[in-house]
């Protein structure tokens, strides 16, 4: 026969005093619904505001030389980082005079995409997403959005890339965003003829 004065095992494991239970009043419940709706409205307005800032005040990043023209054969590619060391990008040479560059992160879940020169596609090995190497648009698989494309120019036998950040210039002016350190590192390395991080990834 057990001791009736001792609390049962489950009460010891879950010591929730019933006296502290409280009911939700109707007013509290309606208040919760109203605040939820307000939270959705604030989130929607914040997203629209960010799109407005991005569209009307795009932050233009400087051009960066990422490769020599003769460094990459036709059908080859090179990995580089732009605008910061945390932003992997891929430069493709599709034809003798045609270079394209994209953000290397898949628009599905940010896996790095790989170049398939035979099919002229960028393939994401994680979930078998495929992008057109010409313009980065999704061809198959889970990705629905195109890869972010950088503008590419050639000058003095060097390939220059340039892109616009999603963060607006207004944000930079307000909060004093740092300069593009990745670009500075890249330019400095080229001026000293030193290898740049990712430069060894040149294949045909």
């Amino acid at each position: 026969m057990g001791n009736l004065n001792m609390p049962s095992r489950w009460r010891q494991d879950f010591p929730v005093p019933s006296g502290e239970d409280s009911y939700v009043t109707r007013r509290e419940f309606t208040k919760f619904l109203g605040l939820t709706s307000l939270a959705f409205l604030i989130g929607t307005c914040a997203a629209v505001g960010r799109k407005l800032v991005t569209q009307f005040f795009p932050r233009q990043l400087g051009s960066v030389a990422v490769a020599d023209i003769h460094e990459i054969p036709v059908g080859g590619y090179k990995l580089f980082r732009y605008p910061t060391e945390d932003d992997p990008c891929i430069l493709l040479r599709l034809a003798e005079d045609k270079f394209v560059a994209f953000d290397q992160r898949c628009t599905h879940l940010s896996c790095p995409v790989l170049f398939d020169a035979a099919r002229k596609q960028l393939a994401c090995p994680c979930h078998e997403g495929f992008f057109d190497a010409e313009d980065g648009r999704p061809l198959a698989g889970p990705p629905k959005r195109a890869l972010a494309q950088l503008s590419v120019t050639t000058e003095n036998a060097r390939v220059l890339v340039r892109g616009a950040s999603a963060v607006g210039a207004v944000y930079d002016r307000a909060f004093g965003a740092p300069a593009c350190e990745g670009c500075a590192v890249t330019d400095r390395a080229y001026s000293k003829n030193e290898p740049v991080r990712g430069q060894q990834e040149v294949t045909a």
Binding site: T30, L33, T44, A47, K51, R145
Partner: protein
């Protein structure tokens, strides 16, 4: 059934109806939020779509507020609290 219990039952029915309406509106607002998030990330979605979604969300929030006011006024008229 005492008048007090009848009154409480009526209020519960009103609350359930209001809750059902507000839940539907909140689901719509959630969808609008995903539309604007998509617009924020993708340049393919135009700005007018994002602004229209924000306006609709504002109207939905206003409707929720009106429904809550309606419920509270009903409660006040029924109970005097």
């Amino acid at each position: 059934m005492s008048p007090g219990i009848q009154k409480r039952n009526r209020l519960n029915v009103v609350l359930q109806m209001v809750t059902a309406l507000i839940t539907a509106i909140l689901l719509g607002q959630l969808w609008l939020f995903t539309v604007t998030l998509d617009a924020m990330e993708s340049s393919a979605v135009s700005m007018s779509v994002a602004i229209a979604a924000a306006v609709c969300s504002l109207m939905a929030c206003g409707t929720v507020w009106v429904l809550i006011r309606f419920f509270l006024s009903t409660e006040h008229s029924e109970t005097g609290e």
